[in-house]
Amino acid sequence: MSGPGVGWYLIVAALLFGTGALGVMLRRSPLIVLLSLEIMLNAANLTLIAFARQHGSLDGQVFALVVMGVAAAEVAIGLGLIVAMARRRLPLDVDQASALRG
């Protein structure tokens, strides 16, 4: 394999993951939190694929595919929740959604 070794990809994935995690931890808009989560998932995917390449086994890629599916599901639910919140005229702010009450 020419070009950068798998380690470089992993470093990119780590940085990406950290960025996403910061977004999840710091942002208050649920939408951006969701987007940051996507970044974290993709960072994980990148790791999976990198290791798949390293070991020459496709299992990692299949895993990444499954993660994609789950991510899609999560987005569907997350967006549904956000829409429901907006409908009830609740503030779109995760800090204010702090009580388990309807």
């Binding site: 070009g3 380690g7 895993f63």
Partner: protein, 176 residues
């Protein structure tokens, strides 16, 4: 030469990937964030290609950048121009703790990678052209990973139904 070209492509893709990632997190307007994420996904797809995961790269672009992000944009459009909640607030130490935790995670990852670097990561396996092809992945999906595949499909179905339920206006609420 080819190696150099790969390095260039890799570098460009990685930089785009990280830049758009930071952009996603830092834009005040979710709309811009969402657009940045599309860029992020696209650049990731390039990295996948470099890792000989052609099918996944295609899926990334089609499924993620195509459908999922379109859904995002629809929702954003539906919600209209809401001002985003600000960055900070909440418990005073939260911000510091978050940054410290993220940095610590990064450091740990690097340390762990470093511990394993020399042994395993230097010498990737030889692969054929069929590696990462739809056919190969498809075969694995319906043989070894059939259960994961089926469960994923059920999860997706449930999520779809859940999304519909969440999105539907109940009559009682509608009259309120």
């Amino acid at each position: 030469m080819a190696g150099f070209l790969v390095w260039v492509i890799w570098f460009a893709a990685a930089a785009a990937c990280l830049g758009t990632g930071v952009a996603v997190v830092s834009f005040a307007n979710p709309f811009y964030s969402a657009l940045s994420l599309i860029g992020n996904l696209a650049s990731l797809a390039v990295l996948y290609l470099l890792l000989s995961a052609e099918f996944l790269a295609a899926a990334q672009v089609l499924v993620y950048a195509g459908s999922v992000m379109v859904m995002f944009l629809f929702v954003l459009a539906y919600l209209g121009g809401r001002a985003d909640a600000p960055w900070a607030g909440g418990p005073p130490l939260l911000r510091t703790a978050a940054i410290v935790a993220a940095v610590a995670l990064l450091v740990e990852i690097v340390v762990v990678l470093g511990l394993a670097w020399g042994d395993n990561l230097s010498d990737p396996a030889e692969v054929t052209g069929a590696f990462g092809s739809p056919a190969a992945i498809g075969e694995l999906l319906v043989t070894d990973h059939l259960l994961a595949f089926e469960i994923t499909s059920i999860v997706l179905l449930v999520a779809a139904v859940g999304g519909v339920v969440l999105g539907t206006t109940r009559e009682k609420e509608a009259t309120e």
